[in-house]
């Protein structure tokens, strides 16, 4: 008997087992079923891109951002006085830039299906909404008539470790009636659209209202008690960017909000 047909037959036999696993109660609400706990106060750690994040860089200094010709033209036209006159001091605090702005974030559950992310820098609030049970809406879908705002409309979903065939073939060591061992960890995926045009950096490096932001929030709980949060960030904006922008700001968890320091948006600092 050839091995390939045997494997194919065996994998077909797995399918009903997987289907049986699907006959389970509906998943819990996003808050109750959270595979990781992101709530709390977090401080951004600025070890990368310091010169463009901790101080306002020179006008025209957009190194590290792959702007196209239109993007460079917009960046070269940056005028903070004009933004102040228009009441648009928060242009560099929109969702595509906000997690890279030095500061602290406070993550709470607004309700069972909505994460609330407050920032002390610029006093902004992001709402990361999970689809309500039965709404039929999935992450990545955004109501077409939603207004464009600095923080846009964010759809969230949990990504749990996949029950995939492991690469490391371990012998079955557990008895048949032992409770299943669930893989630990997981990730939060957030897709944000309906953004108001703003700046990726304080000095006018632009993104447009058509930008789409995709994030993966990953938690690392260390044995020494430290907790780190890495946000893998993709920004797609064909109007101003010649390539997808990819950055991964990192945060360290703090025990409380004693260092929380709200400051208003600024066009210059």
């Amino acid at each position: 008997m050839k091995i390939a047909p045997v494997l194919a037959l065996s994998l077909l036999l797995i399918a009903p087992v997987e289907a049986q696993r699907g006959n389970q109660p509906p998943p819990p609400a996003p808050r109750a079923g959270a595979p990781i706990d992101l709530t709390g106060y977090w401080v951004s750690i600025v070890t990368a891109d310091w010169r463009w994040r901790m101080v306002t860089p020179a006008k025209g200094d957009y190194q590290g951002v792959q702007l196209n010709a239109e993007g460079r033209k917009a960046a070269d036209a940056w005028d903070p006085a004009k933004d102040e006159a228009a009441g648009e001091q928060c242009k560099s605090y929109g969702a595509p830039a906000l997690m890279s702005v030095p500061g602290r974030i406070h993550i709470t559950w607004q309700d069972d299906t909505t994460f609330k992310v407050d920032t002390d820098a610029g006093t902004q609030t992001r709402l990361l909404r999970f689809p309500s049970t039965g709404s039929g809406q999935v992450a990545g879908q955004t109501p077409a008539d939603a207004p464009h705002t600095w923080q846009g409309v964010s759809q969230a979903r949990w990504l749990s470790p996949r029950p995939a065939v492991p690469l490391q073939l371990r012998p079955v060591e557990r008895t048949a009636d032992a409770p299943p061992i669930r893989p630990t960890g997981g990730s939060l995926e957030v897709v944000t659209k309906n953004l108001r045009a703003g700046y990726l950096r304080k000095n006018g490096v632009p993104y447009s209202e058509n930008a789409v932001l995709t994030e993966h929030w990953d938690l690392y709980k260390r044995p020494n008690g430290e907790q780190w949060l890495t946000i893998t960030t993709q920004i797609e904006d064909p109007k101003y960017l010649s390539n997808v922008r990819l950055v991964a700001p990192v945060f360290k968890k703090e025990p409380n909000g004693s260092k929380w320091d709200p400051t208003p948006c600024s066009s210059r600092w």
Partner: protein, 297 residues
Amino acid sequence: MGRTGRIVSIVFAIAATPVAASAQVDLTGTWQRVGQHDNGAAREPVDLLGMPLSADGRAKALSYDIASLSATERQCQMYPPIYAIVGPFPLQFVMVPDPVTQKLLAWKILGWGDRDETMIWMDGRPHPSSLAPHSHGGFTTGQWEGDTLTTVTTHAKLGDIKRHRGFSSDRATFTMRLNRHGDLLTATGILEDPVYLAEPYVLTEIYRLTSNPNNFPLTACEPIEELPRLHENPAFVPHYRPGKHPAMNEMTERYNIPLEAVVGGPETMYPEYRKKLKDKYVPPPPVTGRGGGPPPQ
């Protein structure tokens, strides 16, 4: 039981396990660096911005003269493990099976020109004694937590962690967290060093799986005579005396960034440090094009 029977047994054993405790993702392949951070990029010879250096770490950095690499015994010195995140080349992951059981024994990140390979042992073996020999690649173990691979590296030799601007000692520990999201791989690196760092140095990098395995393979290094003055006096190591680094003020002159920030320190990586800068910093005049420094890798 014949071979076919064994295969069927294995497949059924997997199917009977509701969820594998060691859920894993496949890292095999070449991962092109696509993150747009300036982790290793710097133009000015003194650029320690945001590096949590200790007093010794700062002294080491400011005494360093890149001409020291021309000394015969230093020409083949390789970059330390953190260069998987800091360096310019792709990560090439290879799975290493146990030759008998075919179970995953280790992941290997292939070396490149001047960075040693990293063998990530996955079989639970302990790290060796602190007295064991140190190598350029160090000793690394790995562990899955769900779909995330965490690696811990010890026993690496002294090496530079920001292109000849900052250093880790042979007592450093480097922890790397690898999260795969589709064809993207994010690495979060945490370097801890009781000698040259006052707090952990944390960096991230993003890679994209590519079918183009372009790389700069690790090759044998052969020292040659680069600077005759070093061969005339083999006991001399090029260096700068305290406070005498000739490029100490370049960043301040070019970007108006105060020298106290340029030389790093743990306080410089926290948001509240901006308050110390606010009254001292004035943005430099506008630049044209992409002026002001090198593009990140």
